[in-house]
Symmetry: C2
Subunit: 302 residues, 2 copies
């Protein structure tokens, strides 16, 4: 369960990010002629400096069950499409009304609101085009691909991420309790992170017990990830994060630190990471990246 | 090729609409607790009086190849989810800024802009959850289901419907030529209509040549459908349509009548319908609903 000495997480992340970036570029949706601005808008947000956490988790989930990375890669990219679309729509004036994201003007500031909505819609839809690609369909039993498509649709849709954002929007400026905060985070962030790890394991043709263990791991790190976001908004370096910190407090947004205090929030976060690593106890060296990724969630600066 | 005497299109449409409405209700996405308003918004737009043209075309496409209607039905519903989402986003203030749709206040007028964006996102994502349902996956070869999922994602995404809307938005207030108008319509409306017919045929396990013929049919009626919309905006009864007519002219929007004149637009429309019916020449009685549906497109009042 202990981290293997010598594992270089920074090098791992750099290597995987480069693979994801190349694959994203290869799989960029291309609209023709009169709709070409749509491409620019999709490309702009896809390459606006994302950490590629979800694709990397998907690949690491596949690697944990010794799946073929090439086969997992289109699904990993599809997850980044979905994540990017969700940020574009969250940033809209009618939603969180954010002008900056990762230090760059948000999509609607550059392309206008209509194009930001449409480019988000385009990325979400394209995700399902990409994940049903013959590149995957020809390589694994088609039922596994259907399962993954359904798993990701569930995690991203009205029983998952979209529900989390809807609850978040409706809770703004309201007093909410820990139950609602947990609902928001489990849906808004947790569901897609869990699906990222689990979908990699399904595409990698893991056994049922492995997929379950990896989904448990995903659930724990998903929860910890959101607590990190909350903590970073209090303690983070706005330069590293590319946006102003303290936004949650200014907006009167309930967060783990605001509801429980910073110390207790950190305690919960550490507990979740330990539980995540424990969920991997049945795995050997192949899950080493996932163990390090869990800790990275606490240690990240942005 | 002639219409069979005695086919009652009105009864057919009524019967199929009732089946679709029941299935839509059975398959309504349900978000829990703090996100329950999302459900209301999705339900409101799904049941705001749609004609259910795409689901009915999907079912008729399935019937043409003598497929099982029960198996086609979830895909038919998924197509209505996608169509409804596209209307919700099109109506947004940043897009077409419409307050009324089918005589009722649009989603953002009732639920606010944020919820209208999210409910649209939710319906789009749920469509892919629904179409990968075990209700279908257990009944047809999984490869056929993957093919349909990919076909619909392509038709709805940045190479299809979303591109059409992007081109439409960017053409507003501009002089555009017939090429661009055709691009807009082929993508914005035609692609999903074509996919509706073709996906029914794939789920119905039609032969390749049948699927191709039905896709050709879909392409023709898709083009004719948009010309009808343009003509209805000039000649239609605003009461029957539930919105003010003449909107295209007021907005300076290029349409078939504005570019070619009303008479020529009607001529093209009739030609397309004849070609659509011709595409069905290899089919017998099973394609009778599709033949009548093609003519309905010209004759509809809303």
């Amino acid at each position: 369960m202990a981290n293997e000495p010598g594992f270089d997480l920074k090098a791992y992340l750099g290597e995987k990010r480069a693979i994801v970036d190349r694959a994203l570029r290869d799989n960029l949706p291309r609209s023709s002629g009169p709709a070409s601005e749509l491409n620019q808008a999709m490309e702009y947000s896809l390459f606006a400096g994302g950490k590629r956490l979800r694709p990397i988790l998907c690949m690491a989930g596949g690697a944990a069950v010794e799946g073929d990375e090439e086969t997992v890669l289109p699904v990993a990219c599809a997850l980044e499409f979905i994540h990017t679309y969700s940020l574009m729509h969250d940033d809209l004036p009618a939603m969180d009304d954010d002008d900056l994201r990762r230090g760059k003007p948000t999509s609607h500031k550059v392309f206008g609101e209509a194009m930001a909505v449409l480019a988000g819609d385009g990325l979400l839809t394209e995700a399902f085009f990409l994940m049903t690609s013959p590149k995957i369909a020809g390589r694994i039993p088609p039922r596994a691909l259907i399962r993954v498509t359904r798993m990701i649709a569930r995690a991203a849709g009205p029983a998952g991420m979209v529900a989390g954002q809807a609850a978040d929007i409706r809770s703004e400026g309201q007093q909410i309790d820990l139950d609602v905060l947990e609902y928001i985070h489990a849906h808004k962030t947790g569901a897609l992170i869990t699906a990222s790890v689990a979908s990699g394991a399904v595409i990698g043709l893991g056994e049922a017990s492995q997929i379950q263990a990896l989904a448990d791991y995903g659930k724990k790190i998903g929860a910890a990830f959101q607590i990190s976001d909350d903590i970073l908004d209090v303690e983070g370096d706005s330069h590293a994060m590319g946006k102003r910190t303290g936004a949650d407090e200014r907006k009167g947004k309930a967060t783990y630190p605001s509801l429980l205090g910073l110390a207790r929030a950190k305690e919960i976060q550490s507990g979740l990471i330990e539980e995540a690593v424990t969920a991997l106890s049945g795995f050997g060296k192949a899950a080493e990246p996932l163990r390090h990724l869990a800790r990275y969630i606490i240690e990240r600066k942005k």
